[in-house]
Structure formats: C-alpha cells, structure tokens
C-alpha cells in the first residue's frame, strides 16, 4: 500500500450503530482503508459502544467523524437508544475537537449508487469491489426474507458513510 504525503491526508472515521453493536471504518486520503471492523457489545450497549468508539478515536486520531443522520432525516426509524447514543458520540467528538458530519440513509445510497432506492447489498457489493483487498472476503451473502441482517453489514455501512463523506461534502450538516 502506498501512503500519501501528509498534506494530502484527511482521516475520516465513520461509525454505524446497530442492535448488535457497531461497525467502523477509517479512511485516509480517500483511497486507503486504514482500519475497519465490527464490535459486538454485550450488557449496557450504549456505554460499551461509547467506550469502543473512544478507543477507536484514540487509536486513529481522525479529523472527521461521520454518522448516519438518525434524527432529522426523512423516513428514519432508528430506536431511541441509538438516537441517544448518537448524541453522546457527537458530544465526545466535540470534546476532542473532531468535526462531525451526518448523512441520511437516502443521501448515502443516492451518492454511492446514484439511486436512493438502492439496497444495502448493492452498496456492499460496490464497496467490496472498490476495496477488494480488504473487503471482498467479508462481503455477506445476499439476504433473504427469513434471514437476520448479517453482522458484517455493519462494516459496509460504516465504509459507505466514510466514502460518501470523502467524495462529497456539499450536502452534509456540520456539527449538527
């Protein structure tokens, strides 16, 4: 992997929370996926998730934190626990002087797939091609109606947020 010169680098951390825990991705300079993964949290999910995100921030020192817009986006149905967790994570980022960007699910699909009705699976397949070394082996199988969401999808959700934030900053809400 060829690293860019320091002046060309912006490190973006994206976190995607789910009922199991969260997925995260760190992109540097737009083209290098420097860290990614998923954490399953047992017990107090919000406290565990917050501690996990804090550790990742400490490890990767990002310039920008990207989250899904779960409060104001049209059609969002996130549970109150995750909405509360987002507020805590945003407060943590502000404490560390990290800019926060929120992207609505529809905007994310629209930017990555050019279609706001696109599916998570289509997005994951696109990202697995873009970061084939890191993600191709982690692409979940296509989900059928009777299957639960694959935990690995949390990683792809986070990578998608990071890529979208890097590609186009125009329609984002800053520090919201």
């Amino acid at each position: 992997m060829r690293m860019d010169q320091p002046s060309q680098r912006t490190r973006i951390l994206a976190v995607s929370f789910s009922s199991r825990g969260f997925g995260y991705a760190v992109i540097e300079g737009g083209s290098a996926l420097v860290d990614f993964g998923k954490k399953r949290i047992e017990g107090d999910k919000n406290m565990g998730s917050l501690a996990g995100v804090e550790k990742i921030i400490h490890r990767n020192q990002p310039d920008l934190l990207v989250l899904q817009d779960v409060n104001h986006a049209k059609g969002t149905r996130r549970v109150p626990r995750i909405k509360m967790l987002h507020k805590k994570v945003i407060a943590l980022a502000k404490e560390r002087h990290i800019r926060v960007v929120k992207i609505a699910g529809r905007d994310l699909r629209s930017r990555l797939l050019g279609d706001e009705e696109g599916t998570k699976q289509e997005m994951a397949e696109l990202l697995a091609k873009q970061f084939s070394n890191e993600l191709a082996s982690r692409l979940p199988p296509k989900r059928t109606a009777w299957m639960n969401a694959d935990p690995r999808m949390d990683i792809f959700d986070a990578v998608g947020l990071a890529v979208a934030a890097h590609d186009d900053g125009a329609a984002m809400k800053l520090n919201g």
């Binding site: 992997m1 060829r2 690293m3 320091p6 680098r9 420097v34 490890r59 070394n133 890191e134 082996s137």
Partner: protein
C-alpha cells in the same frame, strides 16, 4: 495531518491475518503471543529492529511506510540536528556534505 504512528493493523487486516498468526510469523513464543502484536499495533511499545524487519517481510511494505508516523517524527528530529550541523560546519563542508544537509533541511516542516 500527520500519519498514524504505525500502519501495522491496516496491513494485517488487509491480509486478513489474526494477531496470533502474525505473532507466529514473527516467531513470538509463549502463551499470550497476540499481546505482543497488539502492543506493537497500539504503539504501546516500539518493536525491535528484528521485529520491524520481520513486519516488512510479512506485509511486503517498507519499514518507513509501516511506521510512517514514527518515521516522520525521526525525520524531523534529524532535520533539526542537520540545521545545527549546518551552522557548525559552514565554510568547511564539502559539496556532497552540503547537499546532504540541504536535503535534510528541506524536510523541516517548522
């Protein structure tokens, strides 16, 4: 923005190795092998020269790129010393030495 201190985790994940597997390749013995790799990745300690070179062999990436943040830090320190050396040797340095010092000074960011 400055580089991360090291990119060991990035390269390990790219190759889908576990910390235990990397520890095995490094030749680490003992029951808690993954801990050594974890400490290297989290910059809790600086690996030995042997380990650094073993990482280069495993990941196929030069040490200066694997430890980019540490390299940049060292480069700055050397450049600062080169500035002092430049003052000390003004007038008596050969052309080749002057070029080396000028090259090091060009890397000073502040």
């Amino acid at each position: 923005m400055a580089s991360l201190s090291n990119y060991l985790r990035t390269h390990r994940k790219r190759l889908a190795f576990s910390q235990e597997e990397v520890a095995f390749l490094l030749g680490v013995n003992g029951t808690d092998k993954a801990t050594k790799v974890s400490r290297d990745e989290n910059s809790a300690r600086e690996p030995s020269l042997q380990s650094a070179l073993a990482y280069e062999a495993i990941y196929g990436t030069p040490v200066r790129e694997l430890f980019a943040g540490l390299y940049e830090e060292m480069e700055q320190k050397v450049a600062e010393r080169a500035k002092l050396l430049g003052f000390r040797t003004t007038g008596k340095a050969t052309r080749q030495r002057q070029e080396v010092i000028a090259n090091l000074l060009s890397k000073l960011t502040v």
